[in-house]
């Protein structure tokens, strides 16, 4: 396979450096708005849908990157776009199930939901799985960045007379250091605004490359005619080859990937949580998936399509044997002039950095929220601390966590770098890590009877059955293979998602369906005097069985029996040790009780009367407990009552909600067109004196 080095000129490098400096300055400017952990992680829950939509472009395009889709575009044609056009099936669940629940329950992370909905032990296991997922995702991001930049770098550099080879891992380490520095000092507001800028630039750069390429080939009809029919089809061949087939990718991407991306990608969720309201989050999701993703499919895949067309007409310019992961860089360097190539590469790498930044920021949020805070609470339960000091300490921990996660992300690259393409590495990763969490979230949100026993057994038993499936794919995954040939080197990279999802669902359904039997089992042990010590003994035996299946130093039958033993007994053990009140645990935390969730969010009954938006200017008054006050007439126009929630923002729409606050209606006054508020609200909202503000009732 043909690989490249030293692509690009000095002009390109200058353009790239300037681009990065501009983007970092832009991000740092908005980083100054980071005043608390809430700002650092969620951007203060204030932004408009359009701003979030565009900022998601860089995250989405970055993670589903130019490199991997151009590679598949080069190998298989326009069917590289199919993963961008198959995300709609789970949108109803997301918009009207998961999104309102995470916003109204005020959870800061997915594991926190697991504690509220199930138990601290469920949260602990969810944290482990989610961290593995996020760090793996960061590793994929670094791998892609390294592969994108390596063709531009020389084979070696001379440092003080010593020649140092530039390897993929060394390039990644340098990239990781730059990425880590940026995110550590920026925070979510900086990331959102950097991504906003990059979202526009990415779409522009991608389409520019496409049109330059079409012109290079002599027009669209020439390009189209050069592609073989199979390259023009938007969906892949049903079940072959094993490295890229429709049905495997359907289960890996359209099902596990889409749900994983929408439901457990903490980075993406934090973007939606940064929207000013649930409805704005829905708009951002709808516009992004319906319109931006199809455009992104062209942006990320077109270099591969163009590369294929050029290789057909001029194999001497682009060899059909070019390394697929390098095709984007190769095509861009051939069809663009110096400087423009630098710009395109800068846009690509900056987008990838955005993805990685978002993920690092999100993983830091999990570390603070799901590891640091519970440990602090456990060690010093009665600790009294001033809020601002606590915030400063957590912000420091968040920044330290960002550095640690960056390092772990680099190590995660080792697990993926031997896959032939980034695409397959990502597919394998998604198929393997998403099913247990996705199934647990789904059942937790939509099935009230799903208990801690169900979720913990899904995690433990599901993971064991998945591992056994991975060890013996010819026996366990083959029945689901839809005729896909098994590649012994990487068996069932994609379709394993179907097997993994089915075993996790199977475990969850089994435990929930057998709930009453397990209750009787628990009652028997609770009624016995020696019940507790017997249960501890049983737990030790189940732990041994778990280890036996996990480490695989036994026959297949023994491993399967051990896993079944775990699945059968863990629900009883969890039922015995974990106290669970279904009424309390499901209130406001499943889609069956969203009205209750709203009431809990607001703290009083919901006022659903539709009101108008009102223009006001602010006047300062003495500090009061997070309330702002309007005139009687303005309150009537907004159909608002004292105690309702209000959203107040600068009238300039292009700010996208940057200058805004959420607050509560306080007692009324008599000056129409004026809102009274304290210094803290003015500072949090970043309001300018004399500027017109728009007030609207939130709920």
């Amino acid at each position: 396979m043909e690989t490249f080095h030293n692509i690009g000129t000095t002009t390109d490098w200058i353009v790239m450096v300037v681009y990065f400096l501009v983007v970092m300055l832009f991000g740092s400017y908005f980083g100054r708005y980071t005043k608390s952990t809430s700002d650092f992680f969620f951007g203060g829950r204030r932004f408009s849908w359009w701003l979030i939509t565009m900022s998601i472009v860089a995250t989405g395009v970055g993670s589903h990157s130019f490199v991997k889709y151009s590679a598949k575009g080069f190998e298989h044609g326009i069917s590289s776009s199919m993963t961008y056009l198959n995300d709609w099936f789970f949108v109803p669940f997301f918009m009207f199930g998961w999104l309102p629940i995470i916003v109204y329950s005020k959870v800061r992370s997915i594991p926190e939901y697991f504690e509220k909905r199930f138990s601290p032990s469920a949260r602990f296991l969810a944290t482990i799985l989610l961290l593995l997922y996020m760090v793996g995702y960061i590793g994929i991001g670094f791998l892609t960045l390294g592969k994108a930049l390596l063709p531009m770098l020389p084979e070696a550099v001379n440092v003080m007379g010593t020649a140092i080879d530039i390897t993929l891992m060394r390039a990644i380490v340098v990239i990781a250091i730059i990425t880590g520095i940026y995110i550590t000092f920026g925070g979510q507001t900086a990331v959102i605004f950097t991504d906003l800028l990059q979202g526009f630039i990415l779409l522009f750069a991608g389409f520019m490359l496409f049109f330059i390429g079409i012109s290079y080939l002599g027009g669209f009809s020439t390009f189209w005619d050069l592609l073989p029919t199979t390259w023009k089809l938007p969906l892949a061949e049903f079940n072959k080859p094993s490295s890229f087939n429709f049905v495997g990718i359907f289960w890996q991407d359209a099902v596990a990937g889409s749900i994983g991306f929408l439901f457990m990608n903490q980075g993406l969720l934090m973007r939606f949580m940064a929207c000013k309201s649930v409805n704005e989050g829905r708009k951002a999701a709808a516009i992004n998936i319906m319109f931006i993703l199809p455009l992104s499919a062209v942006v990320v895949g077109s270099a591969g399509w163009l590369g294929k067309a050029i290789s057909v007409v001029s194999p001497d310019i682009i060899s059909p044997n070019t390394s697929p992961d390098e095709i984007f860089v190769v095509v861009a360097s051939i069809i663009t002039s110096p400087g423009v190539f630098g710009f395109v590469m800068a846009a690509l790498t900056a987008a990838l950095m955005s993805t990685v930044d978002t993920l690092i920021n999100a993983t830091a949020a999990i570390c603070v929220n799901d590891i640091y805070r519970p440990i602090v609470t456990y060690l010093k339960p009665a600790r009294q601390e001033i809020e601002s000091e606590k915030d400063r300490r957590e912000l420091f921990v968040a920044r330290l966590a960002s550095i640690g996660i960056t390092a772990l992300g680099v190590l995660a690259v080792l697990a993926f770098k031997n896959f032939p393409t980034v695409y397959e590495a990502h597919g394998y990763f998604h198929s393997t890590l998403t099913p247990p969490l996705v199934v647990a979230i789904f059942m937790g949100v939509f099935w009230k009877r799903f208990t801690p026993a169900g979720v913990i057994t899904t995690f433990l038993g599901g993971v064991l059955l998945m591992i056994i499936g991975a060890r013996f794919p010819g026996i366990f995954i083959a029945p689901f293979d839809h005729g896909i040939e098994m590649n012994p080197a990487r068996p069932y990279s994609y379709i394993r998602a179907l097997y993994n999802t089915i075993v996790c669902i199977g475990v969850g359904v089994y435990v929930t369906a057998m709930g009453n039997n397990y209750n009787r089992f628990v009652d028997i042990f609770k009624s016995r005097q020696s019940g507790r010590s017997e249960m501890v003994g049983l737990t030790a035996v189940v732990g041994l069985a778990f280890a036996l299946a996990l480490f695989g130093n036994s026959t297949m039958n023994t491993q399967v029996l051990s896993a079944v033993f775990v699945v059968i007994l863990v629900p009883g053990i969890v039922g015995y040790f974990v106290s669970y009140d279904e009424q309390k645990a499901t209130e406001g935390l499943t889609s069956w009780s969203l009205d209750k969730a709203k009431i809990m969010f607001k703290g009083s009954d919901i006022n659903d009367q539709v009101g108008e938006k009102v223009e006001v200017v602010f006047k300062q008054e003495d500090e009061r407990e997070n309330i702002i006050r309007f005139s009687k007439n303005d309150m009537e126009r907004m159909s608002a009552n004292v105690g309702d929630l209000v959203y107040l923002s600068d009238k300039r729409k292009w700010l996208g909600g940057l200058k805004s606050i959420h607050s509560t209606y306080g007692e009324i006054h008599n000056e129409d067109g004026v809102v009274y508020m304290g210094t803290r609200n003015i500072e949090t909202g970043l309001f300018d004196k004399g500027r017109i503000l728009i007030a609207e009732k939130e709920m």
Binding site: F89, E237, F250, I289, M290, S591
Partner: protein, 69 residues
């Protein structure tokens, strides 16, 4: 050259199997009242959700037809 397994078979599988997730999803969110059809804004969302399904199906029909032409 028979391209059925490369064109319409994946198409039917995508939207057939996808429908098995999408429409029960719609049913579930309306049954749980998270999508409350009594609210005008939610009725609009229902239309958008259905439009999205048809939109992607139409995109694929057009692309497959153009490729096979």
């Amino acid at each position: 050259m028979d391209l059925f397994t490369h064109s319409w078979l994946p198409f039917f599988y995508l939207y057939g199997m996808g429908a098995l997730f999408f429409f029960p999803g719609l049913y579930l969110i309306t049954k749980t009242k998270s999508l409350d059809m009594n609210k005008p804004q939610h009725r609009k969302w229902m239309k958008i959700l259905l439009f999205g399904y048809v939109w992607f199906m139409a995109l694929h029909v057009i692309l497959i037809t153009l490729a096979l032409k």
